[in-house]
Amino acid sequence: MLTGKVVNSLLQLNQIHKVFNEGTPDEKIALHRIHLQLKPGDFMTVIGSNGAGKSTLMNMISGKLIPDMGDVLIDGSDVTLVKEHKRSKLIGRVFQDPMAGTAPSMTIEENLAIAYSRTMTRGLRKGVSKKRRDFFREKLEMLHLGLENRLSAKVGLLSGGERQALSLLMATFTEPKILLLDEHTAALDPARAELITNLTKEIVETYKLTTLMVTHNMQQALDLGNRLIMMDKGQIIFETNEQQKQNLTVEKLLEEFQKIRGEKMSSDKAVLI
């Protein structure tokens, strides 16, 4: 069992520790010796209040931040010190801000071409060839938004929901080892958020992507994925496996949080639900 674990984990965080503003009165332990493992095909949702360390955790994996201590392993190789842009050959990311994942003054097909060449070394090949265009059209059909007929429209003209759907497709269609979703439905209206949530489910299942999703929405955290962790003050305070997760409800999660922290979370409740 123990040896199997090491070989099988696609993402492994060992004792990740990060302190912000060290040595100043503002010193804050953002992550406290975090240990985390994702097996191939795992879809883990991460919940927690503001400042719990969820985003810091994401940034550690994506390479935007480097831990003070600990290692990050992707598919068995140590990437702790590998730079963000190199690491992103292995990682697909969707951000909270629908504007962040696409280039607005470029067309839909050009954006897709950029995403397409994520895994290769960029050269003087034509970005949007006939063959690629057909491929993009086929992938866009997955979104059911009619974007396949608007390949040469500028992305800046799309609505927030459409842009986020496109970001999701761009992050996933090259089948990254790890998919990071950072509150990617939080900035959308409820209808759009539901659309993106459903698309996420569909796409992750299609490509069998190993996924880590941060969310503020507890219901979404329960609906999606096979594993769930709750973070608070830089620590993982609650973790469920697949069977436990199926029986969880929002109420039970809140109860769990109170039991562990022993404090009223009326202020957090508003943030979490």
């Binding site: 994506s62 730079k83 963000e84 842009h85 190199k86 992103s88 050959k89 990682i91 990311r93 951000f95 504007m99 962040a100 994942g101 696409t102 280039a103 607005p104 003054s105 470029m106 050009e110 954006n111 071409a113 950029i114 995403a115 060449s117 994520r118 895994t119 290769m120 960029r122 050269g123 003087l124 090949r125 034509k126 970005g127 949007v128 761009m170 992050a171």
Partner: protein, 343 residues
């Protein structure tokens, strides 16, 4: 008059290369690169010194481009690796290049009038084709009395500018080109798609300044000298060309925008030529004229847009009022007429 306009189109085509360089840094990379004032002269001085030294003028021009490329890369390095603000890294390079350009030339001015330059060679080549003669008989038949020395420089420089434009268009559609465009558009995004934005910026600024130096080298050979002060205000001329071009010819797609930049560069030269013909303006007023042109090109389109918007709203309001009036009073003529005359 026609001679002056002819000359300004000729010069405009050569300056268009510089404007295309500015377009790359300013619009594509979203990087206000002031290196241009220095790298333009670097191109001119490298070419001039090498031509005086007996090198083939075409070879000298290529060497000038490489020097410009290096200068642009250095600005990029200052900004990305040195983490210096974009404007400041350009200004620093501009100042540094002033001294370097003096060193390259060894003095403040290198005359090329008696040398064999790319321009004299191209003119020779062109005259060998005998096209001038054909054009002149055509213009004479049309009743035009204007006879330039040669059409060669004008036509060849226009072809060169268009060829460079096409190359830029094609390059910006390759994988690397798309990544460079995305770097100027959304850096977070392109970094999450495994592109090294530092390298792309350095390379992009290199290409941009290579074009600027190319233009500088040709201008030196066109004017017959290289001077350490010839680059002053060059960035503003470049910006003027980009902004005027985009305002008049549009910038919807890259293909259109690069063509607009060439048009803008030529138009800018024509405007300046015409402005200098005004009685009370002197050659020294050139920079002021440039500033005024850029300011109007920046403000006028906005004002026109606002005016249009206002008029549209007023018309809509007026129509709504009319409808309201006719609804309220039915078709009883007099009252309706009274309201109409009020509005």
């Amino acid at each position: 008059m026609p001679t002056a306009i002819f000359g300004s189109i000729e010069a405009g085509a050569i300056y268009a290369l510089m404007a295309l360089g500015v377009y790359l840094s300013f619009r594509i990379l979203d990087f206000p690169d002031l290196t241009v004032d220095g790298s333009f002269v670097t191109g001119a001085s490298v070419a001039a010194v090498m031509i005086v030294g007996g090198y083939n003028p075409f070879f000298a021009t290529i060497a000038a481009m490489l020097a410009g490329f290096a200068a642009g890369c250095l600005t990029g390095l200052l900004h990305t690796k040195g983490k210096i603000n974009a404007l400041l890294s350009g200004i620093l390079m501009m100042i540094a290049l002033y001294s370097i350009n003096l060193r390259i030339m060894g003095k403040s001015n290198v005359p090329l009038l008696s040398e064999e330059t790319a321009m004299t060679k191209l003119t020779e080549f062109w005259q060998g084709l005998g096209i001038d003669h054909a054009i002149q008989s055509l213009t004479a038949a049309l009743g035009m009395s204007f006879v330039p020395k040669t059409w060669g420089i004008l036509i060849l420089m226009l072809i060169l500018a268009l060829a460079v434009k096409v190359l830029i268009d094609l390059f910006l559609k390759t994988d690397v080109g798309l990544a460079i465009r995305a770097t100027g558009d959304n850096e977070t995004m392109i970094r999450s798609f495994s592109a090294d934005t530092d390298i792309l910026k350095i390379f992009g600024l290199g290409i941009s300044n290579a074009l600027v130096a190319f233009s500088g080298a040709l201008v030196a050979q066109y004017n017959g000298f290289s001077d350490v002060g010839m680059g002053i205000g060059m960035i503003i001329i470049g910006l003027a060309s980009v902004i005027i071009g985009e305002a008049i010819f549009g910038a919807k797609t890259i293909v259109r925008a690069t063509l607009a930049v060439i048009g803008g560069a030529i138009l800018y030269r024509i405007i300046v030529t015409l402005a200098l013909r005004v009685e009370f303006l002197e050659t020294g007023d050139m920079k002021l004229i440039t500033a005024v042109i850029v300011i109007s090109a920046l403000i006028l389109p906005k004002l026109i847009q606002q005016q249009k918007e206002k008029q549209r709203k007023r018309r809509r309001l007026l129509e709504a009022k009319k409808n309201q009036a006719s609804n309220a009073y039915g078709k009883s003529g007099e009252q309706l007429a009274a309201i109409k005359s009020d509005s």
